[in-house]
Symmetry: C2
Subunit: 626 residues, 2 copies
């Protein structure tokens, strides 16, 4: 097995617990409501029964090419949930669903409902547009998650057989294909970790290395189907990041979820193989995605058409696509780069996406979902109960169920804290089992107290992330102020830690008016409100004037207030802004500014992730400055 | 013949002359450059030779269903030009082109190239999507213009035969069809005026009355073709304003050029028949279009998709469609309503469109055209030499060639001045031939001197429009200040006028910051600069900072300066605004507003209609307030 090149390893999922006011209730809703609800949705929509393989040509509702992935993501979510909290019924349900899935496996190892009952004659003939490898990837992720949560090999063995079958089809001396919708690349690295079998890493590397090379596989494949490659519906292979070999790609392009999954897989393979050229490509693509193409919420992929990235700084607010899955994909990519490089730039954007553009994807009740996450709305955009293309609901369920993964990392002689949230995290550091206990009201309060628990004194570096949004902070150990060095965004506190040692970190968390890069024309002359990692918005139900017409004077004082009853308890931002006086517009669409007076109006901004949980109405993130 | 119900009649085209700094040079370029240029384009692209009817199935480039209309609009433009200025070569060329067109007329009177040589078997089978009646309308307009300019009946007679043929096909006891692309309605009223034959007015009324009634003609017609009406590509008949009977329509919807042509035809028919219900519908649709769906430039139809109107106040700037033809259509509609109602509200929007969103359609060199007129550009939008769908270039040519139509009107005892432009206009008023001589630098200067020329003293009202944009004005007759009453936007000066009587009208013309209605979310927190009727923009070539990032402090002084060398001579608006300081953005997409300092920057705004005549680059009309 090649030596891992990651600097960090996440703490194990089952060794991290949340007891904070922000995530813990959401994780609980995810476990109690969302996961059961999504299983019922999968049942209702035929996604479970499809694995019985009883569909016959001529019947309605043929199992769709991506259905398998929805149930797979649900299994993954349920398995993560099981890993952190025992649940006998869920365990039994998983066994039952997995048995059903395994029963659908074909003698050759193939495990795909659509290509078993609907188009068995078309297997592997259209990797570009169809989702066989994508579905396989999600089933592999599910199998690994279930194995790690339960130790049961039932699904893992089935997926190893399927992956083995795929490895007999694709490779340097076999078909040189690769998925149109990336996903299996990162899944195969997980399978490699779970099994230790290097074949899976090799297959992942092959898919990545082969991508976009000439002669182009999708051209050959299309011709073999009798299609004209020039008539590709998406016009260019950049839609699926197959326009160039991945190491020559410098710009985040195409379908944003595909992009994020690919880049995550690239980071995984680079971490395993130590391939610097691949890692360099990851860095370049990270910069493209996050420095030039990302919403302040961490949403990526601004265009509805093709669910894709567009040009640099093209970030329209009302028509933002910013698919929930793409923000989740950004978290995956960030988390992988963070383990490899141990640089807070990745944790900063991971935090941004998690607290804003990811969490907006699910309602407080856990049963309504955004696919699209605009930064302004005319009042017609609302969460839905489910989608025909239902990728987002189980994606956010698996993310919330596995959130513990993202908080801490271990290095041989260091414990890293990436995210602040009350709770605990344990790992073996420098040969000692240590536990970090966080006490904090983060993200509502910037004061974080971390107590080290260790049976014996342990010498290691405690690496505390100083968030990119934070301009001022102090730290103390056992009440003594310290001034640790900050490297790559982490304050390093080296010490021989005794049980009960306490670190107090205080992060200044003023309300900030944020501006976007001058090239983001959509946000010219506007500010967004941010406090700590939380991006705020104005929702219509809190305001009498149309929220999208409210302007915020630069000098207007703003205050943060904890409203414990609102939206499950949240900090709101309040102040006095300006709204156009309503009169004088009869029969007019335009008039002199000096005649159109503004009037003061009290505003109340709420976290963006919480919008659309009350009376439906317009919303806006970016406020004109006045 | 029914008694006309118009309060006003435009001065005859040949009796109006321009000697002003704004229009006269553009009209000259139109005559000297654009009209010959467009004829060559029609030749080059096969639109002229198509009338030879030599195209055979299997040959490339079949004459398109709308080609006839392009040459027709060119004939109309050339005829207007001939009406105001003799040109023997153009006269001869017109005769030659008209002879060619007449030679294409079929024995039954039909005169349509596409349906003669390409799909003769499909005549009149798809009024919804095809353009037979639209092309007929443009040929009729051309025929009337040529007849009025030259007295020659060559084209007029051919088109009467064609219209007669159409009248044998459509009517209450015939096929109950009507055009999918309106145009023939207003053309038939012109033909009625030119010939006195009430059959044409009746046919126009029929088309208008029949529109949108049930059972729906387009349903029947589609079924007759073997098509499913439910599979209409545009989904709803509101695309072509056929979703409801016209008198029940209350909102400007669908394809904006079609809408404007329909409403113009409705106003024409209402004016002829005195039908109040039809006139009421016109007023309602006018309000919808101009009070809720119009750009500050007079552009209408904000959506690229379907070239259509969208919802109220949905006026995106960078993605504005605002087709040149639609702004021209708004001028047609406004001009008709103005003659009927004699209210300056129509002249105000007519002026707005003419000076801004219409004139932007053609370059200063007369050979480049905008089809789409956005109010902000990233620098990639430029005028083209021609278009596959070439409606706009000949449309603006015919408008500029007939601009004299829009300046003055006559009533039995009044002369009306709608637009101010140095030059002359003559008509018979109160039984006397009078001439109004305007001396002014309008639109650069608000001082207008009008001298009345009359062989004998004449008693009539001189009605001077006080523009809606004007907040302060003074008037004097022969140096004596007067305070005339203003009714419906016109100052009435009643007097027995002697030759040489001089009226001095001074319209205050400060630079105004204009705001849009609070519901226009796209313009929230922004101002546009307007001076007199001219809307301004910032063009990149005058600025070092990205123009779309420049913010204008409310208090920043702005000055108007006449730059005689710039863009053919224009008033520019100058001042000091704020641009984001360029530094500090390395690796950042978002940062605190207090860290991102602005720096003062000199700005120079130019008239919107003149943008994209210099170094190509970004442009913006609406500036963030600072």
């Amino acid at each position: 097995m090649p030596k891992p090149r990651r600097k960090l390893q996440p703490f194990a999922l089952q060794d991290v617990a949340f007891a904070d006011p922000f995530w813990a209730p959401r994780i609980q809703t995810n476990r109690r409501v969302t996961i059961p609800y999504e299983y019922r949705q999968c049942q209702k929509t035929g996604r479970v029964d499809a694995f019985r393989l009883t569909w016959k040509p001529g019947q309605p509702d043929p199992p769709h090419i991506f259905w398998d992935s929805d149930l797979a993501k649900w299994i993954e979510a349920a398995s993560y949930s099981l890993a952190t909290r025992k649940n006998r019924r869920l365990d039994a349900l998983l066994d039952q669903v997995i048995a059903l899935i395994a029963s659908a496996q074909q003698p050759d190892g193939c495990l795909n409902v659509h290509y078993t009952v609907v188009e068995p004659d078309k297997r592997w003939t259209n990797l570009r547009d169809c989702h066989e490898l994508y579905c396989a990837g999600h089933l592999i992720e599910a199998a690994v998650a279930h194995f790690q949560a339960t130790g049961k090999r039932s699904l893992l063995d089935a997926l190893c057989r399927y992956a083995d079958h795929i490895a007999t089809l694709f490779g340097p001396r076999r078909k040189k294909g690769y998925p149109g919708h990336e996903e299996i690349e990162l899944a195969l690295v997980k399978l490699f970790h779970a099994t230790g079998n290097p074949r899976y890493l090799k297959l992942s590397s092959f898919f990545i290395d082969q991508r976009g090379t000439k002669p182009h596989y999708y051209d050959k494949e299309a011709k073999a189907r009798g299609d004209d490659p020039a008539r590709y519906w998406a016009r260019s292979y950049d839609y699926c990041q197959a326009h160039l070999p991945v190491r020559e790609q410098t710009e985040a392009v195409g379908h944003s979820v595909r992009a994020m999954y690919l880049y995550s897989g690239m980071a995984d393979v680079a971490a395993e193989t130590g391939d610097q050229t691949l890692l360099d490509a990851c860095r370049t693509l990270w910069d493209s995605a996050t420095i030039r193409k990302m919403y302040i919420t961490g949403g990526v992929g601004s265009a509805h058409h093709g669910e894709r990235f567009t040009s640099d700084h093209d970030l329209p607010n009302a028509t933002a696509y910013a698919e929930t899955c793409a923000a989740i994909g950004l978290v995956f990519f960030a988390h992988r780069m963070l383990q490899v490089e141990a640089h807070a730039r990745y944790a900063d954007e991971m935090e941004r996406a998690l607290y804003n553009g990811v969490l907006s994807g699910v309602s407080l009740d856990g049963k309504h979902f955004f696919y699209v996450n605009p930064l302004a709305s005319d009042g017609t955009h609302h969460r839905q109960k489910w989608f025909g293309c239902a990728c987002c609901p189980p994606n956010i369920a698996r993310l919330l169920a596995s959130l513990g993964h993202y908080v801490y990392s271990a290095a041989p002689r260091a414990a890293w804290v990436h995210l602040y949230a009350a709770g605990t995290g344990s790992a073996e550091i420098a040969g000692r089992k240590i536990t970090l206990e966080q006490a904090t009201d983060y993200p509502w309060d910037g004061r974080v107290a971390i107590t080290v628990r260790t049976a014996q004194p342990a010498t290691f570096d405690l690496m505390l992330r100083i968030p990119g949004w934070c301009d001022g902070w102090t730290a103390a150990v056992n009440g003594q102020a310290i001034q640790p060095l900050v490297t790559k965004g982490y304050a390093r506190i080296r010490r021989t830690w005794a049980d009960g040692d306490r670190i107090d970190l205080t992060l200044d968390m003023p309300i900030r008016r944020i501006v976007a890069h001058p090239s983001v024309t959509e946000d010219a002359g506007r500010v967004a409100l941010q406090r700590g990692p939380i991006v705020y918005c104005l929702e219509q139900c809190d305001h009498r004037a149309p929220v999208r017409a409210i302007a915020l004077p630069d000098a207007a004082p703003l205050t943060a207030r904890h409203d414990r009853k609102l939206l499950g308890g949240t900090i709101v931002i309040e102040g006095t802004a300006l709204a156009p006086a309503p009169g004088g517009w009869k029969g007019k669409l335009y008039r002199p500014a000096d005649a159109a007076k503004a009037r003061p109006i009290r505003i109340k901004a709420i976290p963006y992730c919480l919008w659309d949980n009350r009376t439906p109405g317009p919303m806006t993130v970016w406020l004109p400055r006045a």
